[in-house]
């Protein structure tokens, strides 16, 4: 199995995350609040993204994938671990330095309706990162750049003076992408960027991401629950379950031959839009639901639903092991 990087992927990681933990305290009490527990949204995640590659982060709701993305931009506070962006210790940044980080990493949100301020013209929305980070000295240059960005994402320049409510979902997502690109970031965190869109519009936006990556030499962290979309965009994939990465490696390898029992089940649950193929597929349908992250199972987090779990899995937490094809899998039972 080969995992040679595709395109202009360089060897040095642009983002390096080690043992990241994000816990949310659960508080009870009307006046005197005490912490009664913790939701371990992200619990010891190691990930690297190389310059120029796309890392697809997949998982179901409650897996911690969104929290992970937000923690990189410091929108959620990390409880432990480290994040390095271009060698810089992200978790040590304070105040102005932290805001500067947000100039270098862009973010695209899921909800195209909620992520744009309804009281601002979309031109001003796209201009805001440049104003905030004082990227240009002259205001006229900002205007020119906004117009360029409108061209880049495929919006008509004359639309700049309109307000968000006048646009369709797909157009709004283009505006959101233009805003994310405005400060010239190298890494784009895309949190479910197409899941709120209709099928035909989804394909337009995915194609836009494809084109931008080449034109602007971008690196993506692509967070999504739609495994088919992730398949299309990703060089590498990491699968999250209940705060843990259970399997990561080259996308081709994982999709062709998933190893972790959860990855297997997840991939087999996605129906393929082709009745001839789909009706002949063998499927692993998981029993039950994902346990509450407030009260995760002991041992391997997947043991409550795992079809091949044995005694050991209920006691010992499996650590990620690196296999010959570079894949990392956190499962006691996988042998390649």
């Amino acid at each position: 199995m080969s995992s040679t990087p595709v395109g202009s992927v360089s060897a040095t990681p642009i983002l390096e995350v080690n043992q990241l933990k994000v816990y949310f305290p659960v508080k009870r009490g009307l006046i005197i609040q005490r912490t009664v527990g913790e939701v371990k949204a992200v619990d010891g995640v190691d990930l690297q993204i190389k310059h120029g590659e796309t890392l697809g982060l997949v998982g179901e709701s409650g897996s911690g994938k969104t929290t992970f993305g937000r923690a990189i931009l410091r929108l959620n506070d990390a409880t432990g671990g480290s994040i390095r962006y271009q060698g810089e210790d992200v978790l040590a940044l304070r105040g102005r330095a932290m805001r500067k980080l947000r100039r270098k990493i862009g973010m695209v949100f899921q909800d195209p309706y909620g992520s744009l301020n309804p009281r601002m013209t979309v031109g001003n929305i796209v201009a805001e990162p440049m104003l905030v980070h004082k990227i240009f000295e002259q205001r006229s240059m900002i205007k020119d750049r906004v117009m360029e960005l409108f061209d880049t994402v495929g919006l008509n320049r004359s639309m700049a003076k309109r307000y968000p409510h006048e646009f369709s979902g797909g157009q709004r997502q283009r505006i959101g992408i233009a805003r994310a690109l405005a400060s010239g970031p190298q890494l784009l965190i895309c949190d479910e960027p197409v899941s709120a869109l209709d099928v035909s519009i989804q394909a337009q936006i995915i194609s836009l991401f494809d084109r931008l990556k080449i034109e602007q030499n971008l690196t993506y962290l692509f967070i999504a629950h739609d495994l088919s979309v992730v398949r299309h965009v990703s060089d590498r994939v990491a699968v999250m379950y209940l705060g843990h990465v259970v399997e990561q490696g080259a996308a081709d390898a994982i999709y062709r031959d998933p190893q972790h029992p959860y990855t297997k089940a997840l991939l087999s649950a996605v129906p393929i839009p082709d009745p001839v193929v789909e009706r002949r597929r063998e499927r692993v349908v998981l029993k039950g639901d994902m346990p509450s992250p407030l009260n995760p199972p002991k041992g391997c987090v997947f043991n409550t639903r795992c079809p091949i779990a044995e005694e050991r899995c209920f006691v010992e937490i499996p650590l990620p092991r690196t296999f010959s094809d570079g894949r990392q899998i956190a499962c006691h039972k996988v042998v390649i």
């Binding site: 931009l73 929108l75 932290m98 805001r99 500067k100 980080l101 947000r102 100039r103 862009g106 973010m107 949100f109 909800d111 909620g114 992520s115 744009l116 301020n117 309804p118 009281r119 601002m120 013209t121 031109g123 001003n124 201009a127 805001e128 990162p129 104003l131 905030v132 980070h133 205001r139 900002i142 205007k143 906004v146 004359s158 700049a160 003076k161 309109r162 307000y163 409510h165 006048e166 646009f167 369709s168 157009q171 959101g176 805003r179 994310a180 405005a182 400060s183």
Partner: protein, 308 residues
Amino acid sequence: MTAISDTSKEWELAPPLSTRLKGMFGSTYRAAKRDLVLAAAITVLLVGLFLAIFAPTLARTDYERTDPVNRILAPNSHNWFGTDNWGRDVFDRTIVGTRLSFLVGFSVTLISTVIGVGVALVISYFRVLDAVMMRFVDGLLAFPTILLALALISLIGPSVGNVILALSVTATAGKIRLVRGAVLSLRESTYVEAARAIGVPVPRILMLHVLPNIVGIIIVQATFTLASAILAEASLSFLGAGVPEYVPSWGNIIATGQGYIQVGFHISFFPGLFLTGTVLAVVLIGDSVRDHLDPRLRGRLRTTAAQQ
């Protein structure tokens, strides 16, 4: 998606505040030309303002001097609004009273709105400050408005300034609670999140992303404050904690008339009419300004206007 924007001009980067204000007033003025009710409301307020400034020079009688012979006269050609229980001309007292009522009403509204919104915006971003401030506000709100104002005035002494101060305190507490709630829910919105994600500093988030989106709530609350402040001033005066009875204010005249409602209905009726008119005018103007500040509604207003 239908395009309803003004297509005449090109997009400009965040225009300065002055042009934005001009645009807002211009748009209200254009709306007033179409909307007769709005035009009437603005007229009422302008007349009120005129009276507040010039009424003492317009009064034809000595509105503070008692004249027991002519007490409780029904409206007639000489006393247009009749006379009160001391024989004073109700018309003169009402128009002169405009000054005090406007002063108290608008001052309390302005002070409480500015301070209330400011404090709410700030504390909603600092958790510790928020916890402390909100318990204090809850404490203030636990008292009935008049009781609290009464207690304050008995401490600092009765005067117009102190009435404004006392009423502003209670009104501000209510504003802080209301606006804080709105800010907290807005802070969770994705566009505020998005603003944080691109590195917008907190003050700019508050002024540009939060404040414009709670303007509607603020305006509605302000019109409510205006009416209740004018009435509260009357209650305070009635209880002897405001201005002396002989000094005319709408509240004072209404309070005086209350005892004579069966024999001299007109005493309370006319200042009451002025009060109602003012509040109604402010509510209408407030609604209109709110609509014109909202791009979603603005578009709709324009299309309905085009259809008519």
